[in-house]
């Protein structure tokens, strides 16, 4: 494993200071949650991401982007996770931007993304559990185009998106990887329910009732959507793993500070060995999760043939560790940790959503088993 380059360290510092300043819980998450805004995130910060080039992190330099990899995206996402910053960065700049790379849709949408004006989303899940090969949303040929019938759920920020990359079935049966096609579904084409999740983020349910699309809405090859979908999902999974590491790091930093300042029985509670050992265990687990997330990102960037395995390892590990971090966080804070006023509970809610996104830890443990041949 190679360590971060100087350029990567610089990017990490830029992201860290930007998100600590402008992406803080008070300025973003609580502000948008308590003002009950439609999007659940701030467009001004997205615009600022654009000015810094971050919205184009995965867009090729020939299209005006930074042309960087999963490792750089992971560095930014860890900071987003640490600050619980609501942002379309993951869905737009990491996932959807990759799904439309090399297609005419890239040319169409990249300028808006680069400017921080456009939001893109991905719609893949159809039930409460991630199972992309079970895509059933039907896309039937009609005249020169397609007509779509079915539904999607847990499409993160899709209600705010200008375009939704949507996985639909053009042939075969649910459960088969062949026969899936990606479509660029424009805003307002499907009926959208803007669902508020536990962490006050937004993820749409989409209803497709005879939605007609032109043939040029197809991204890539008809029936051949599995490969670009997997690429986009794996970029997303590696990204979520990094964001979960940030969530874990943010929650644990808050908790360790509490252990150093809260007094009971005339002592700082961090003096109690029962808590010290749990804290030290948690610290090690977070280090391991970060190593796994960086390993997965590096494997994607270098085209490692085991990249998919490392991605599932990272997502499963980071989800498990972030869950531990927020559970220990709330428990060690005691009563104050149960209040809405304290921020630690916000980490617990965010972890639940990210843990589920693009496959929960059970899904990815299963993938690790399959990819290891058992």
């Amino acid at each position: 494993m190679t360590l971060l380059t100087d350029d990567q360290k610089m990017l990490q510092e830029t992201a860290a200071s930007l998100l600590a300043e402008e992406g803080s819980i008070a300025k973003q998450l609580r502000h948008w949650r308590d003002s009950d805004c439609y999007d659940g995130f701030g467009h001004a910060l997205w615009k600022q991401f654009g000015e810094l080039g971050l919205t184009g992190i995965a867009i090729a330099e020939s299209h005006g982007g930074l042309g960087l990899g999963a490792t750089e995206a992971a560095l930014v996402l860890e900071e987003i996770g640490r600050n619980l910053t609501p942002s379309p960065f993951l869905t737009t700049a990491v996932v959807a931007a990759r799904a439309i790379a090399g297609s005419a849709h890239g040319e169409r949408w990249y300028p808006g993304v680069l400017a921080g004006e456009v939001v893109l989303a991905l719609a893949v899940d159809e039930g409460p559990h991630h199972a992309p090969e079970r895509t059933a949303l039907e896309a039937k040929r009609q005249g020169n185009g397609f007509v779509l019938n079915g539904h999607k759920q847990f499409a993160v920020q899709a209600a705010s998106a200008d375009m939704i990359v949507t996985a639909a079935r053009t042939s075969g049966a649910p459960g088969e990887r062949d026969g899936i096609t990606l479509f660029a579904v424009p805003k307002d084409a499907a009926a959208v329910e803007n669902v508020h999740l536990a962490d006050s983020s937004r993820a749409a349910r989409l209803a497709f009732d005879n939605v007609a699309l032109d043939a040029d809405a197809v991204i890539g090859a008809i029936d051949g959507g599995w490969a670009p979908l997997s690429q986009a999902l794996n970029a997303g999974r590696a990204g979520v793993a990094a964001e979960l590491v940030g969530v874990a790091a943010g929650a644990s930093a808050m908790t360790f500070d509490y252990l150093r300042t809260r007094q009971q029985f005339g002592k700082l509670i961090g003096e109690f060995q029962a808590l010290q050992h749990r804290a030290a265990h948690l610290y090690g687990e977070i280090e391991i999760a970060r190593a796994a997330a960086l390993k997965a990102a590096g494997a994607l960037d270098s085209g490692d043939e085991r990249a998919e395995l490392w991605v599932s390892v990272a997502k499963a590990k980071a989800a498990g560790v972030a869950s531990l971090a927020v559970r220990e966080g709330v428990q060690m804070h005691g009563g104050i940790g149960m209040t809405d006023e304290h921020d630690i509970g916000l980490y617990m809610k965010r972890e639940a959503v990210l843990g589920e996104l693009f496959g929960d830890l059970h899904y990815h443990r299963g993938r690790v088993a399959e990819l290891s041949g058992y």
Binding site: E271, Q276, G284, E287, I288, L294, H362, R365, A369, S372
Partner: protein, 382 residues
Amino acid sequence: MADLDSFRADTRAWLEANCPQEMRTPMRSEGDYCWGGRNWSFQSDAQRQWLEVMAARGWTVPDWPKDYGGGGLSADETRVLKEEMARIGARLPLVSFGISMLGPALLKFGTEEQKKHYLTQIARGEIRWCQGYSEPGAGSDLAGLQTKAEDKGDHWLVNGQKVWTSYADKADWIFCLTRTSSESKQGGISFLLFDMETPGVSTKPILLISGNSPFCETFFDDVKVPRDQVVGAVNKGWDVAKYLLGHEREMISGMGLGGGGSLGAATRPADPMLRAEIAAFDVDALAFQAMSERFTALWKAGEAHPASPSMMKYAGTELNKRRNELVMAAGGSDALEWDSERSKTGKAPRDWLRSKGNSIEGGTSEIQLNIVAKHILRLPGA
């Protein structure tokens, strides 16, 4: 880079020409390791030859200075050598506590004379060392050790007892923590080196729950140790001891991997409940593999926290215990056979029982967590 490429080409050619075929096969058991020492009997001519050619080149300890029997290789060259050895499946020519534990401590704390003398012997595999640390009354509280070394002018007079001395019955020399002052707990310890054949030294193997005896009790009864065989300053042996423990933890932390790879792939669990548990383990094991790679890179670059080997040791050993639990579960009643040939003389249950010591030796898991809490998390009163 060009230099490194030509080093790789030269190394590859040299290994091809000099590594005996027999030394390119995987080690099957503990007995395949070459520990060296005065009483070592080589398993084969190939084992002897391999040690001799590698030692002549300084490649038993490739990154030690040439003056002390090493290869004088840079970190990059050492890595290339390891890669090239791995490429042909070459065995390590020599393993020893001299290389992994005493050597690094001598390099840091030894006098020029001591380095020239002891390191050269270690590099050639001439002297096999053991470690005299724990005592019956000083386990986790190691600094509470009582083995006394009295200053008798031209020599130290050592009396006391050590326990958990690995391979004391096979070792030639011991590096030993002794109490030279009772005025301060950590500040009254000195790090002595002496010959296990010195009159007054005796050993007794300890039979473990695994049925094997890799450890001994070691007794010192009026053992005379020449004055100059102390490493570092008198009463400053704790600094040497701590430094050496860091290396030991680094070494033990790698054991969690054990080259084991995917446990699921090795055991093919049919039961879905067990498969799920093994998959959960494999996630943790692979994540730890990524951590080990990252830790090694960070450590070499000087970017790792000095206490991070404690985190690695804790995580790696706990993982190895879990691996062995699952191997037993996957094996069912087959894994209970103790001495049949079928079971390779009970490899599974003996490994399983032996692994329980991983989180005790070299500082218990609880001690490692104390260290992380104190030095990394800076928790109060830790």
